[in-house]
């Protein structure tokens, strides 16, 4: 079973309106307040500015309990944003709101890997491009994948060091391997913006670092919930810290030290 918080994050990515809910609660919560109190600028206008995501005074809640309060956040193309905070601070809900803004441009790495466990690693990665093929081709691939498709997926898997496991059932993999499969799925999806909820939480620091570098090299814009301060400082260019639903820090990495961050949440030194 995946954790409830990932369910919150994944509540309804294909629905255009955001659905937030408190971390640690079961799915099916309702959004307490509208995430966009003021109308957003027209999409064209924003794209000219290079704006990928924009939240203004966004709120979300669960059962009347606020989870996000008055969040203002603008993410521009090319930015690498790390979202940090204690468990329950509202990170997953925030990422959910961002994803809901433009699901068609976002590749997603959910918190629990959210794999189809009885399917092979190959098929789980292929799922990243289901929208780009006809239904008939997808069904065919389920039963008898084309050699070219396998070759391409194999290439992606090689980059996360899972090439050998390509035809293993995803459920038979270790937690770390499952997480890398989930990353490979996002890489294979290939959309310019990556939203990742703790995408390397099950990996050691060095392996995690390699994966984050890989994600940076393949995606233009990144918004990643991270719990490792060193990863954030090494790979992000901007850090947002949430505490009890409020944004308390939003600074370029250059302006922060590890201790600044550790003071606000209990990450490991």
């Amino acid at each position: 079973m995946d954790e409830p918080s990932s369910r919150a994050f994944l509540a309804s990515p294909r629905a255009p309106t955001a659905r937030g809910e408190g971390e640690g609660h079961a799915q099916g919560a309702q959004v307490g307040a509208a995430p966009h109190p003021r109308p957003l600028p027209a999409r064209r206008e924003r794209e000219q500015d290079g704006v990928v995501f924009e939240l203004r005074r966004a709120c979300a809640g669960y059962d009347g309990r606020p989870v996000l309060i008055d969040i203002d956040l603008t993410v521009r193309a090319g930015e690498h944003v790390a979202v940090m905070g204690r468990s329950g601070a509202g990170k997953s809900t925030l990422l959910g709101l961002l994803y809901a803004q433009r699901p068609h441009d976002v590749a997603l790495v959910p918190q629990a890997s959210a794999l189809v466990k009885p399917l092979s690693v190959f098929h789980n990665v292929y799922i990243g491009r289901l929208d780009r093929h006809s239904t008939a081709y997808n069904l065919r691939t389920l039963v008898w994948p084309a050699a070219s498709e396998v070759a391409e997926v194999r290439g992606v898997l090689a980059s996360v060091d899972l090439e050998v496991e390509i035809f293993k059932a995803a459920g038979a993999l270790s937690g770390g391997q499952q997480q890398r499969t989930s990353v490979a799925r996002a890489l294979y999806n290939g959309r310019p913006t990556l939203v990742g909820d703790e995408p390397v939480s099950a990996l050691d620091r060095i392996q995690g670092s390699e994966i984050l570098a890989l994600l940076k090299s393949r995606h233009e814009t990144l918004v990643l919930a991270l719990h490792d301060v060193h990863h954030a400082l090494e790979h992000a260019d901007r850090v947002v810290v949430l505490e009890q639903g409020r944004k308390i820090i939003d600074e370029p990495v250059g302006a922060l030290t590890a201790n600044d961050l550790l003071r606000h949440f209990g990450g490991e030194p």
Binding site: D2, P110, I127, D131, T135
Partner: protein
Amino acid sequence: MKRLAFGNTSLLFLLSALACLTVADIAVTALNPWGEMLRLLRGVLRPDFLSVEAWSVVWTVAFAVVGVAIGATAGLPLAILFPRFAGVRLAAVVLRSIHELFWALMLIQVFGLGPATGVLAIAIPYAGIFAKVFAEIIEEADLAAERVLPAGTTAVSAFAFARLPEVAGRFKTYTLYRLECGLRSTLVLGFIGLPTVGFHLEGYFKQGRYAEAAALLAVFYVLIGTRRLWARPTTVPILLVASLLLLPEAVGGGSALANLVRFITHDIVPAPLRGGDLGSLATWGAFAGWLQPIAWNQVLPGAWNTLVLAQIALVGMGTLALLLFPLVSRRFMGRVGQPAGRLLLVVMRSTPEYMLAYVLLQLLGPSMLPAILALTVHNGAIVGYLMGRHADALDYRADAPKGLNLYAYDTTPRLYGQFLAYNLYRWEIIVRESAIFGILGVATLGYHVDAAISELRFDVAVVLILATVAVCALIDILSRRLRKALRLSTLATRLADAPA
């Protein structure tokens, strides 16, 4: 609903069953059953295997395989629509609330006594069961992956990649398990004339030719006991093709279409409405005059008797299951005793309730009692078997007590919620199964259906069958509410879901 305690609920059911016992039609009147019983025993001890007709065994398997396959195939799309449309849910309730026996009796009117009737009599109610169970399996599945599919994925691709693989394994297990039920259902088809094992079994039984009957029953037990060996995912395609090829040939036959038209536009139309002026008040007055005695003399007492019978049998089943389950648990019986216990319970649950009731009728005389005991034994063995599997799946602490102490202080209290879940789930099944005892003279709804069909009054039969649907639906709702109130909704309720 307020949270009910397990103990209170059990007490409530126990008291209601006791109350039912005081009003139930129960009597022991047989005067000299021993002659017949002795002959029965002699037959059982010396089964005549040479008399077993091989084709009837082949056809038993063929009807079960094809019927279950069609039922599962039709049940899948219904299951997908199930959570979205109330109409589909209602249709599924109606399909599965009507006993195979009644489906067969109605289908004979259209397709005659032939393979189509046999296959559909299984496939139709099973489609309703599959729709419900598949929908439950889909609902319980881990669908995290569906929520990360790239935006723009078509519904079919989403289903095939994110849902189907998660549920396919359980679909497979359940469908193969259902084959066992299918085999049991073919017996009923035999009772009405299709050439399955049931056909000969009933004949031998009626004539008191117990040696032949015992041989057939033994073959049937083996068929059910070895189901896991011959019905596997790898053998299913072969079984299916072979079954389709080997189904008995249809003998004679008018036009099914003409029969269907006659059945729908004449036979099941209430007699006063046939050819009557539907605009005239007199027609509807006659209709009310027709319906009223059916409702008062058949539906109400029939439904009452059905519920009384089911209530007593339900509590009987639970009690028996609690007594029996240690027999199939390795923890209680050890490596040697457990297989013997299993064998006993397979025999108990595979013996057709109808046969059991008939033997008991000879022993105890005519009343509700034979039917109650037959239902108790059959269902008690099923629930006992499931509980035994759960008992072995529990983690026991190293210093756990043994024997009766383990039973009373550890296993039974820990399994009690699961036990209640099974009991409540089988409540509706017992109500449905009680239909077949009508033929033995217990005045349940099934008794009146049997009468209506003997008099070729299908319009009356349809009213009565709809009444059984309503009773089943009522029990289903009540059972679901209770399970919810007792917070048992997430526990296993089906044979296929019990721990291996």
